[in-house]
Symmetry: C2
Subunit: 122 residues, 2 copies
DNA sequence: TCTCGATATGTCCAAACGGACATATCGAGG
DNA sequence: CCTCGATATGTCCGTTTGGACATATCGAGA
């Protein structure tokens, strides 16, 4: 029903702090892209999404946490753009850590399920 | 953007075997409800969803795996209903195992993030 | 043969989602 | 003061999603 994920890693992990604040693979990738590129638009574009969508995700993250994970400033030519706050960097790195721990914890079972499924076609 | 999860456990784990076959907390709960109640309708109702939605999820699961996780039979009065196949039971138990392993692997980080967020309100 | 309880399936509609496009705004530098 | 590049925000619209409701079908037992 809901459309699946682009096969990034193994599982798809979403961490829900409360009803308003959560982070999943898409949001994490976006944060990482912003950290790398210094721009919401560039980060979104790299993920194939519109500026507006990327911007709305940033809004949702900042609003959900009650404090900004991303700060922005207008103006081009090296002055404007977006950056992660300390909070944003910490959230991102913790998410990546959880993602890595999760993949390590489930890889055997995932392999077993994949094998199980492919054996069905025999 | 996408609506969060009813706070069941800690993280929200979705396992994607391929583009068509995946299982997350909702589908797992539904499978478990079917195993317990012997009925798609009853299982769905217990989760607050319509029969049609529950049924369509079962279809998606069966089609995605290429083999039924749930078999059904018509007729009421103890004869009709739905059951998990061996495959369905195995997929469910493996998912639960992965879920438990994941929660154990991330609990410290989740607690840290929750503390971080609540400290913001000071 | 009638009823009961369950699966199976269709139609209709409202809300949500997100893409496409258009502006507005701002900051710095030429 | 004009342009550039980026954020900020609005409108419009097609698609998807899922709820509500209506049937149809089936199996067993009274």
């Amino acid at each position: 029903m809901k459309k699946p994920v682009p096969p990034s890693g193994l599982g798809h992990l979403r961490i829900t702090l409360d009803a308003e604040a959560y982070i999943g693979p898409g949001r994490a990738d976006l944060l990482e892209g912003i950290e790398r590129s210094g721009s919401i638009g560039a980060a979104g574009k790299a993920m194939g999404m519109s500026y507006k969508r990327a911007w709305s995700l940033v809004q949702a993250l900042n609003a959900g946490f009650g404090a900004p994970l991303v700060v922005t400033s207008r103006g081009g030519s090296g002055q404007g753009g977006a950056q992660l706050t300390d909070l944003g960097r910490e959230v991102l790195s913790r998410y990546r850590a959880m993602q890595a721990a999760t993949e390590a914890a489930i890889e055997d079972d995932v392999a077993a399920l994949r094998r199980l499924k492919s054996d069905l076609s025999n």
